[in-house]
Amino acid sequence: MTGGGGDYLLEVQDLKVHFRLPRRNVLTPGGTVHAVDGISYRVRRGSTFGIVGESGSGKTTAALAAMRLVPVTGGSIRLDGVEMTVLGGDALREMRRKIQIVFQDPYSSLNPRMRAGAIVREPMDLMDVGDPAERDLRVAELFDRVGLRPEQAALFPHQFSGGQRQRIGVARALATQPELIVCDEPVSALDVAIQAQILNLLRELQEGFGLTYLFISHDLGVVQYICDDIAVMYLGEIVEQSDRVSLFTLPLHPYTWALVSAVPSARRRTGGQDGRVRLQGDPPNPIDPPPGCRFAPRCPFAVDRCHREKPALREVRAGHLVSCHLVGDDCVPPHAAAAGAC
């Protein structure tokens, strides 16, 4: 079953997605949105790779690009060893069978006029998987696997609760027996008590089918729980990347640290505010971003060099990558250095 990709199911190299903006008038050229600007990552088979970031960081665009659902400006995407960026027509269609998506909003991502069974069956119809009788059997089997009753296939989306609708979305994603599932904020539209149900289901299915997930989220608690490896994105770039334990135990980039310390938690109630980084302002616009480090305008530790020179993403510990001038080879992040100096 293993294809040409070796240990890695998905390999993304220097991926760029730029969007041209319309000209405001004939004299001024339109700007360019650098939604994803040269990111590289690899996803191990059977693992969950998380991309975290705030709105506008490009995390969703990065995931859609991996599915070729947005035009790719440059770089390479290899799924199972096959270069996706050059594919078109039937070949692309064939590859898409291996990669499916679960969307954020289970209300708008299901066609309200279709019955639940037909929604789950549709990808198989479109991709000619098996004969019609097999497809019906598979729908029943999928309903069972995601925790719905097979007879519920006859109901319409509005007759389900939010959590059940997301189960339908998961069943639809599984229909073509994909290897990679892109989960774009799959639980953030759900009630807290329901989130756990869906996260447990995703892990169960991963184990059962050997699935690989590309998991997009802004919720650090969820990401820490479900992902094996994590990339932190800021304004179209990866600023830090590591396995889950290393990233949270020793966040190196000031932005990662700011994200981690912004999460409200019960524990910090007693701990006070020590070591917290509060970012000022909002993320800047990805249209013509600043020349040096993109985080420099909001970074409390930025020095001259950060505004002039772009830091490269480099490995500072085994498997732990960071792009920050201020992180030395001794792995002391700027926020720790600042705390130590006081």
Binding site: E54, S55, S161, G163, D191, V192, A193, I194, Q195, A196, Q197, L199, N200, R203, H218, L220, G221, V222, Q224, Y225, I226, R244, V245, F248, T249, A258, L259, V260, S261, A262, V263, P264, S265, A266, R268, R269, T270, R278, L279, Q280, D282, P283
Partner: protein, 333 residues
Amino acid sequence: MDAAAPLLEVEDLEVEFRTRHGTARVLDGVALSLQPGRTLGIVGESGCGKSMTALSIMRLVPVPPGRIGAGAVRLKGEDLLQASEKRMREVRGKDISMIFQEPMTSLNPVYSIGDQIAETVRLHEGLSRRDSLDRAIEMLKAVHIPAAERRVREFPHQMSGGMRQRVMIAMALACRPSVLIADEPTTALDVTVQAQVFDLLKEMQEKTGTAIILISHDMGAIAEMADRVMVMYAGRIVEEAATDEILENPRHPYTRGLIACVPHMEEEPPPERGALTEIPGVVPALTDLGSGCSFAPRCDHATDLCRSRAPRPFAVGADHRAACWLYDEAGAA
């Protein structure tokens, strides 16, 4: 127990909605009391009555189909449920104001933000146009909006989500209300911006002594902001205590579930991960609540008693109450 008379007191509030599927009791025996300068958190899933409690306090429940069946909402001793509509218009925005989840839809897109803040002040305090605009600028500065003199003339669409929520806070606090109701104020915002908004709310509370009711589904947010927590389920208060007490010692199975089902971010994550605790099932439809505890169908500890009779709140600790038969001192009767 408290020496001072509460600023806001809600007693035994009952609200019903008539629907096609029967009468839904959306609030049942809700009671709360709030002291000046304090923050009360209300937590629960959607459909538990959190927002309805806020709307009832403001008397913004649409009647019909809604109906406030019983209870009292006392602000400094005055029962707002008996007040005239004219009096309520004075109260809203002046004594009690509210900020909402989606700052874009709660701002008027065709007026500048300065006009919108100034309108509140003009109506409630009778300031002139000029003075009210000055107040608007002063409020924008107070909520740390840079270049307030310029931005006061801008429109909502020219601002980011975080900025808009700052404008909402400026507007809500412009008349120095004694109570601010914040209904999921940061749910639509990024975490770093959420942290800024929480810091701002705390700072403004320290300056003005406003009491805050914070409604949220996020136990973490509540933990960071609130002094006291009320957990609601299907229109009832199921547990209530000081924040530290409820976090360290949750008693109601629903509260325990709410705390356990969320993957918490650990500073040193364990390498192995077990399955998350689930609360099975969903919030029941409010039209067919039986006579028993409404959480019983989702509860691991449910007994026949739970299914037949709704528990009243039992004292389970110092100033800590849980509405669950597990804590009936007399034992399951």
